[in-house]
Amino acid sequence: MAKKKTKTKTAARPSGSKSRTIKVDYLARVEGEGALYLKMRGEEVLDVRLEIFEPPRFFEALLQGRNFSEAPDITARICGICPVAYQMSAVHAMESALGVQITPEIRLLRRLLYCGEWIESHVLHIYLLHAPDFLRFEGVVDMAKKFRPEVERGLKLKKFGNEIVQLLGGREIHPINVRVGGFHHLPSQTQFQALLNNLKWGRDHAIQTIRWVSSFDFPELHRNIEMVSLSHPNEYPFNEGRVISNLGLNIEPSQFETSISESHLQHSHALHAHINERGSYLVGPMARFHLNYEKLPDLVKEVARSVDLSPKPAVNPFRSIIVRALEVLFAFHEAITIIERISFPTPSFVEVQPPQMEATGFAATEAPRGLLYHRYKIQPDGSIDSAQIIPPTSQNQSTIEEDLKEVASKNHHLTDDDLTHLCEQTIRNYDPCISCATHFLKLKRVQL
């Protein structure tokens, strides 16, 4: 690319007093466009920035005036990797504004759809984006030369997750079947049951995945950080629950904006989110696992124990890949349970009418990368008056920068190349989705 090359000097090692800068202009194996900028002197980190330069697309503004029923289709376009998450937060927010109660079957089918997306997105990240960091490959194609059976397994797992989204959503990317009130049309029970064989294969091979990733070498990093996720009285959370944290946050999704603020920094097209009076926090698989461990099925807990993973206040973000794999197992398990449990035929949707008067709706659901919050104000004619969307990556951005600071400082003795790679890996611990957050990401280390 014509763009200036990364200013990384190979094999250069910083001597004591000189400051050095590390830059990665275009981060690879993340969704969207971001960069990393790191300036340090010895072990002291002078500046660290996860730069999100993905061009803004102004979703919240372009939703204005559109009908409430269009929100699930339009917001899906924020992210090609987790469109279901956007559709789910959108429909739940609309339903809360309109006072719509969905049926237990629709609720279960939404969980099923989310299982599909968690599998597809997590497996993509584990096998194609993150594992190459641990095994020192540039990408999955190189990795496949040495780890062909593993890569084949990953692709198959991903495919089986996508099969759920394809059947129930219509297609893997930007599903068309989700609507406010339910689904446009439901496939038959036989079609769902036809997925079961592959899902059972997936469940078994998810366990192999957990064993495989837990055999990786994990860089040292211990973070005591506030973790935030949804919490439901008797389920591992997808679509509903209160927003809780390990430091005592416990609110309804409708109170989200009173407890959490966003600020806009020059280096990022994503807004940084903070918990008022406390600061940065973390959302995503690690937060969900630590806050909802008790709700996991025995099978998942048992496998977690076997790889020495339990909910602890201090987490090592590098081990998030294991947690992600555990959630893949959970999602396969849950999908199988739902398909075996659901009774057909069932109405595909509940009728929805525009509100009698101006109405506001809130929802938070668990995207693969973490909590995704939507708020909409709707006019009596059904048009959207205003929209607010807070994606997971912008909530994690400050935490990622803090991780980078610690990792860089601890590993200052590394060559620029190795430190750059390690910093990239640190960022990828969070499976950042830059497309989402922009409304995310680039590594720069500058050698002065």
Binding site: M1, A2, Y26, L27, A28, R29, V30, E31, G32, E54, P55, P56, R57, F58, F59, A61, L62, Q64, G65, R66, N67, E70, D73, I74, R77, I78, C79, G80, I81, P83, L124, L128, E138, G139, V140, V141, D142, A144, R148, V151, E152, L155, K156, N162, G170, R171, I173, H174, I176, R179, H184, H185, S263, H264, Q266, H269, L271, S383, S435, H439
Partner: protein
């Protein structure tokens, strides 16, 4: 080996993900194709020239405009993939409004944002060899494109309407049977008539078919589906809003004063800004066009 580069512009990553979603074919493809530049999949950044560049996303910044030119110079074939790259995408809704307003609605510090007034397709800036329509593209068409190029055959994609696919599938017409608004008659096929198969109307992901009769369809939607002018305008104004025929039809039904743009207008007048024409894209430097706030 065919040397492939995959580029991202303003987009959601979904179309390039389609390549990674070819779970059964991916490893096979990489035996025949060298992935030289594909940031979503690899850190390796090989220099051009490339045999094939796939471009996802639309041009919304001046950097992207420059990048498009440099990709064209470095590529034997350029293929745009998806509605953003071929028609500006959903973010092209800004073209009908005032981008400054959008910025200040979404970002507390508008002065940090640099963007162009309009979101435009890649073909606005450089010649493009082929295009794959869709929001997202069809995986099947992507594989067809790659395999055609590998055997040295000219790729060709049908340009008939979604209706043709829908009939072949044996679907019951959602318009005839339920008066459901559907863009199938004017939309290019490629999705396998997905929406009508799930009993909803097509919303035009693949953009206009060749010679679409949009005005006849719009009349029908008005009279038989009882859609309001605003609803008709919105139906044509979504993921391919700047495709000529869709744009014209949406403008025809965008009766003024529409509530949506009226508000924009008022504020614009208040700020005494220039009229938001369809002119050439200009840089909107940090803070420019805004008063010294």
């Amino acid at each position: 080996m065919l040397k492939l580069a995959v580029w991202k512009f303003s987009s959601c990553d979904g179309c390039q993900l389609s390549l990674l979603d070819c779970e059964d074919e991916l490893l096979l493809i990489t035996e025949k194709i060298q992935i030289a530049y594909f940031l979503e999949a690899s850190r390796r950044k090989m220099k051009g020239p490339y045999d094939l560049s796939l471009i996802e996303g639309s041009v919304t910044t001046s950097e992207e405009r420059e990048r498009a030119l440099s990709i064209r110079k470095n590529s034997l074939l350029v293929v745009t993939i998806g509605a953003c790259a071929t028609a500006g995408g959903i973010q092209a809704l800004r073209n009908f409004s005032q981008v400054n307003q959008y910025i200040s609605q979404v970002y507390p510090r508008p002065e940090f944002i640099e963007t162009l007034k309009e979101s435009l397709p890649i073909s606005h800036f450089i010649p493009v060899d082929y295009e794959l329509r869709g929001c997202p593209i069809s995986k099947r068409q992507l594989l067809q494109l790659i395999s055609s190029l590998l055997v040295g055959k000219r790729p060709s994609f049908p340009t008939e309407s979604v209706c043709a696919e829908c009939k072949r599938k044996g679907n019951i017409c959602v318009m005839v049977a339920h008066q459901t608004p559907c863009l199938g008659p004017v939309t290019q096929c490629g999705c396998d008539a997905l929406c009508p198969t799930y009993r909803r109307g097509c919303y035009g992901c693949f953009g206009p078919k060749e010679t679409p009769n949009t005005s006849s369809l719009a009349q029908w939607l008005n009279q038989e589906s009882h859609l309001s002018p605003k609803e008709i305008s919105h139906l044509f104004r979504s993921y391919n809003a700047t495709s000529t025929s869709f744009q014209k039809e949406s403008e025809r039904w965008n009766v003024k004063p529409s509530e949506i743009y009226e508000k924009d207008k008022k504020e614009e007048d208040k700020e005494g800004k220039n009229k938001g024409g369809q002119g050439r894209p200009k840089d909107l430097k940090k803070g420019s066009g805004k008063k010294e706030d």
